[in-house]
Symmetry: C2
Subunit: 298 residues, 2 copies
């Protein structure tokens, strides 16, 4: 049987994640119903699910059981959605459009959006702390620690802070990449490594290959985000376009032309592909995601 | 050698926690420095550390290693401080005084306070996910899951939501207690159980005794909080007094007199003491904390 092409594979992951996240989220009928409704509103029915795709692709590269990868993918996606929900709040980016829908604090209210983010972060760790047959407790503890570090002040939340404190300042390339490696890179790397660790452990070589791949792919994703943010309209993006530039935030396009940025992203993706070459044909999906990041239109 | 009295014991726990939390928190010299300074500002140098005391006392009751209890105590306290930081935000309680100091968003800014809470939640799970010699991986996973559930939408964050959505409504006793069992009770129960689980596991009897103790103590704590909030000035409390009543929030004193509330708390504490009687003399500190909650002045 021929393997499905990348478009079919990514749709299958999106469908699988919708079902898995629906199961992990508390039912709307459970009290407090408004909070649970808001959590389901922000998590379900949208999103490219790039981080889950990375987790499943990394799991496939090392030969991990997809059932075990699924929980890790849910945990990472819940952290991602919590960060979007808080990032959209008036005291942060003050955004009113996300994934083509009103943001949580617009649809519900600010306090609910705050609690939604808080509760989704807890739920991410709860999902990853569910005992799993076939996964050693010590490995699960390692995975939980990895996700916590990637989410915290030396990971994603720290990157958000750097972003916040550097608004209106000019950053050089090293400073801009320090921010992105934390703000988006840390969680992308966590997605890849958690997918790999779902095998039950990783050799030093496999781990370092996946880390290098994740670092390159994470930066390329951000470079292309900046390019698309400048070149695409809000309706296509499903979020407010041109916002970073309007808010005086440093982007790759304040440091280079759009053409140079595309070339830089292409170099990063080539580097990412080299980093996973030792996995052979099993790394096919990782390579396809790298290509997708470079060629996506929204 | 005579055992130290309760006042000396609780000061020793407070001092131990100050050192332990200082070690767990990232140094202010690490980037992003402003975020780390704000995290240290809200966590260090104050707080009664009631939840850590409960964890250490429960650990003592079952005979757990205090070194292993310490990490659990740090994790619970970090979750508690994150919730205070978010609860004080303008979109929630909009409070400007906490532990006798300006609240985080007043001292720093709203976006920083949001990220401080987010990063402290991650740090709590990171602290608890540190591999510990002497603790089985599966038990650590159980402890992480327990803390995540206690913090999330069916625990503390859910209780905050119920509190939010019931402001200005009259609650009956059952509804009020549903709110408190989630908003403060879930984390108090987590503190007690994590202290006990630091032994490496708990018998069903020990677990159920600790759970019942925690439930009674958690409610009594809240009853006395309402009494003190109504009867004490802000300077003594170290936070804004009389705020709940002013904001139209239901409290025990909207349902009963202060005298009746004190009697109710005394009944709960007597029940808590019965629940731990099977632990014998080792439960001394748990009993003392129960007494302290009933007799505290702030």
């Amino acid at each position: 049987m021929a393997m499905p092409d990348f478009a079919a594979w990514s749709r299958a992951i999106q469908a699988r994640m919708e079902t898995a996240l629906d199961r992990v989220l508390p039912a709307e009928s459970l009290a407090p119903a408004r909070l649970h409704a808001a959590m389901r509103y922000v998590v379900l029915g949208g999103g490219k699910r790039v981080r889950p795709m990375l987790a499943f692709a990394a799991g496939e590269a090392v030969g991990a059981d997809p059932e075990l990868v699924e929980r890790a993918a849910c945990a990472v996606e819940l952290i991602h959605v919590y960060s979007l929900t808080h990032d959209d709040l008036p005291c942060m980016d003050d955004d009113d459009l996300r994934r083509g829908k009103p943001t949580c604090h617009v649809q519900f209210d600010e306090a609910t959006a705050l609690l939604v983010g808080d509760a989704l972060q807890s739920l991410a760790f709860e999902a990853l702390a569910t005992p799993r047959a076939g996964l050693d407790g010590a490995v699960q503890v390692e995975m939980l620690g990895l996700l916590a570090r990637a989410s915290g002040s030396r990971g994603m939340a720290g990157g958000q802070a750097v972003d916040l404190y550097s608004t209106g300042k000019s950053l050089d390339l090293a400073e801009l990449e320090f921010m992105h490696i934390h703000k988006t890179g840390a969680l992308i790397q966590a997605a890849v490594l958690l997918g790999g660790l779902s095998l039950g452990g990783l050799s030093a070589t496999a781990r370092s290959g996946l880390e290098h791949y994740a670092r390159c792919v994470g930066l390329a994703f951000q470079v292309m985000d900046d390019v698309l943010d400048a070149e695409t309209d809000s309706a296509t993006l499903g979020k407010t376009a041109g916002k970073d530039a309007a808010q005086g935030k440093a982007t790759y396009l304040t440091l280079m032309s759009a053409g140079e940025a595309r070339d830089y992203a292409a170099d990063l993706i080539a580097d990412a592909e080299r980093a996973i070459s030792s996995f052979g044909p099993a790394s096919r999906r990782l390579a396809e995601i790298a290509r997708f990041i470079l060629e996506r239109r929204y």
